[in-house]
């Protein structure tokens, strides 16, 4: 019986269809907000879903000289990774479908799968834009990943647990936004780096390297990668809202908190010119990582003193 329940959880709810629909809805809100901020009209509400349907129906071109197993496999693994991560986070304000001690680490690594897969996908093809894009994707991965991990560690340390649901419950009584403001800002910007949103879109800067690592992808593979990114967006927002914005315990709170975060993300996207990849790395290691590390040390010292 448990197996049936697990399969339902992965395919339909809370991961699977529900989270994919949520991801598409959030992509639309994000695009619409950025468009409005840029004095454009923006897409209609069903546009992200329509894009996916159209892409799924299209021919997938297999470029010459690639390993076809990797080429077809990587998008599936990427999407599977983020969908599995969805099982461990309090999506829609409901309790996570699965929970065990240490699931935070698992979720973080599952979320990195997407970036890793897209980097590998780029390196797998012979296309020059893809190769440069893959280098940039992986460079960016190494620059934001450590600070992003540290920002999620901060709440874990004060909550005294590595379990997402327990940190969520702890955060319910403590708005960590106010006690760990640096962590919150870095986490939000780290999420933008993870999703390669402007101004951290150097890995897919269209005016330089077309679509970066994804240049050779079309049809189904491209649709799966995009879907993966949408799911990652909603999971990332959920994690940050759960850890820093007073926890998630009901669907209404989930909506309000994640949408507020999305508004901030959209604003940041519209505000800046694209950073060069060397500037991105410099920003993360010189500012992001150091600040978070300092805050983490302060947190540990304070916790040690009070205990």
């Amino acid at each position: 019986m448990d197996i049936v329940k697990d399969i339902l959880a992965i395919l339909i709810f809370p991961a699977g269809l529900a989270v994919m629909a949520g991801g598409l809805a959030y992509e639309w809100i994000d695009r619409k907000l950025v468009a409005q901020l840029q004095n454009r009209i923006g897409p209609r509400w069903f546009q992200p879903a329509a894009d996916i349907v159209k892409l799924l129906a299209k021919e997938e071109v297999l470029p010459e000289g690639v390993d076809s197993r990797l080429f077809y496999g990587l998008p599936v693994v990427a999407l599977a990774g983020v969908l599995t991560a969805a099982l461990y986070v309090p999506l829609f304000g409901l309790a996570p479908a699965h929970s065990f001690s240490g699931d935070l680490i698992v979720a973080i690594y599952l979320l990195s799968m997407l970036t890793l897969c897209s980097g590998l996908a780029g390196a797998n093809t012979n296309d020059r834009f893809s190769l440069i894009g893959a280098t940039r994707t992986l460079t960016q991965l190494f620059s934001y990943e450590a600070p992003f991990l540290l920002t999620l560690l901060g709440p874990a340390i004060v909550a005294g647990s590595w379990q997402i649901s327990e940190i969520n419950a702890y955060a319910g009584g403590h708005w960590l936004l106010f006690t760990q403001p640096v962590g919150f800002v870095v986490a939000l910007i780290g999420l933008m780096g993870k999703l390669e949103l402007p101004p951290f879109d150097a890995p897919e800067a269209e005016t330089e390297i077309v679509a970066g690592a994804m240049t050779e992808y079309s049809g189904r593979g491209w649709a799966l990668f995009r879907l993966g990114k949408n799911v990652e967006l909603i999971i990332g927002l959920t994690l940050i809202a759960a850890f820093y914005l007073g926890g998630l315990s009901d669907p209404l709170g989930f909506l309000l908190k994640t949408l507020a975060l999305l508004l901030a993300v959209a604003g940041l996207q519209a505000l800046f010119a694209r950073l060069r990849i060397d500037q991105t790395v410099g920003l993360w290691w010189r500012a992001g990582a150091l600040l978070v590390l300092a805050q983490l040390l302060a947190t540990i010292v304070l916790k040690g003193m009070t205990a």
């Binding site: 840029q38 440069i132 269209e206 005016t207 330089e208 800046f272 010119a273 694209r274 500037q279």
Partner: protein
């Protein structure tokens, strides 16, 4: 094996590439993210216009040459008209010359705003792109109201202009200019103070004054390197003697300077447009032109939005020109891309390319 490892990794940009709005081909050899060399190949939009001009009569050529460029169409028509008038010994009436200059300056405003948007897009700053293009619509509406067309205004005729300006039209232009002046202040502030934007422009694509002279740069790209070169000031044409413009110079020579020079030129254009509207000479719009142009040859130079536009016109006394040679500003400025590429990041290349405001279809004709 030795050769294989030393082989350069080349990033092709173009002929079809999202960074280019028109076809051109650039090859950047890179070492990681650092550019080690650049070559340029042009000619993808060659339409044989110069040859076609020899098959048409003087009046038809005016419309043909105006279509060399969709952005600086008036500049081409103006350079051609002034040249042909010089050959025929006819001078357009003062009112016509003033209106020609007015349209030329309005066109400069539209061209510089367009460029601002394109450059911002190359820098990944789409918000500035969208806003500057929205504001550019104001000037497009002004031009449409004045001439009937948004592009290829067709305002020139040989010996004068077609479009006249009455009080209502002048007020409409003034309103548009007032709005744009306010917006341009804002863009100048962004170009000189936005932190992320400055990181992409300050010190990038630097050319010293000597280098700029040596490469033979023209227009705003040269003026940003403190090369005092502006046909409007050096050899005033049309009504530029009556309504002179100040040359806008900058000493820094990098991309930021190119932004600042172009944006500050907008203010100069606004000022001159207002001045012309206030003191528009009365009188005829056209002078009588002969159908056949006297035998002879001439050179006509004007300052297009991108720099010096050069026309060589030769007549054999018939109703058709014997030879028309056009040299556009872009061909002079491409050297700035190949000359300064080395040592820059790959991400800077689209910015440097857009920074000189290339016009491929002008260039290839």
């Amino acid at each position: 094996m030795e050769n294989e490892t030393r082989e350069k990794f080349i990033i092709p940009i173009g002929p079809q590439h999202p960074a280019l709005k028109e076809p051109g081909h650039f090859e950047f050899s890179v070492d990681g993210e650092t550019v080690t060399g650049a070559t340029v190949r042009l000619g993808y939009v060659h339409r044989g216009i110069e040859k076609a001009a020899e098959e048409r009569n003087w009046v038809q050529d005016l419309y043909l040459l105006e279509r060399i460029c969709g952005i600086c169409s008036h500049a081409h028509a103006l350079a051609y008209s002034l040249g042909v008038e010089k050959l025929a010994g006819v001078t357009a009436p003062p009112r016509a010359q003033a209106i020609r200059q007015l349209v030329a300056e309005l066109e400069r405003v539209h061209s510089h705003l367009l460029w601002l948007g394109v450059s911002a897009h190359e820098a990944g700053f789409d918000t500035l792109f969208m806003f500057s293009w929205r504001d550019r619509e104001t000037i497009m509406d002004v031009l449409e109201g004045l001439t009937g067309n948004r592009v290829n205004y067709s305002v020139n005729v040989l010996g004068g202009v077609k479009a006249d300006i009455d009080d209502a039209r002048a007020d409409a232009i003034r309103r548009g200019i007032d709005f744009l002046e306010e917006r341009t202040q804002h863009y100048l502030k962004i170009a000189t103070s936005d932190e992320t934007f400055l990181r992409r422009t300050r010190g990038v694509g630097y050319t010293s004054r000597e280098q700029a002279e040596e490469l033979g740069l023209v227009g705003p790209t040269a003026r940003a390197a403190n090369v005092a070169r502006d046909v409007r000031v050096d050899v005033p044409y049309a009504a530029y003697t009556d309504f002179p413009v100040q040359m806008t110079l900058d000493t820094r020579g990098d991309l930021e300077a190119r932004f600042v020079v172009r944006i500050r030129e907008l203010f100069e254009s606004y000022r001159v447009v207002r001045q012309i509207l206030d003191r528009l000479p009365a009188g005829e719009l056209t002078a009588r032109m002969p159908r056949r142009i006297k035998e002879g040859e001439t050179v006509s130079r004007i300052e297009a939005p991108r720099g010096e536009l050069f026309y060589f016109i030769k007549s054999n006394g018939s109703d058709k020109p014997e030879r028309i040679k056009v040299r556009t500003p872009s061909i002079c400025n491409f050297a700035v891309v190949t000359g300064t590429a080395k040592g820059h990041q790959l991400a800077d290349m689209p910015m440097i390319l857009a920074g000189m405001d290339p016009c491929f279809s002008c260039n290839d004709r």
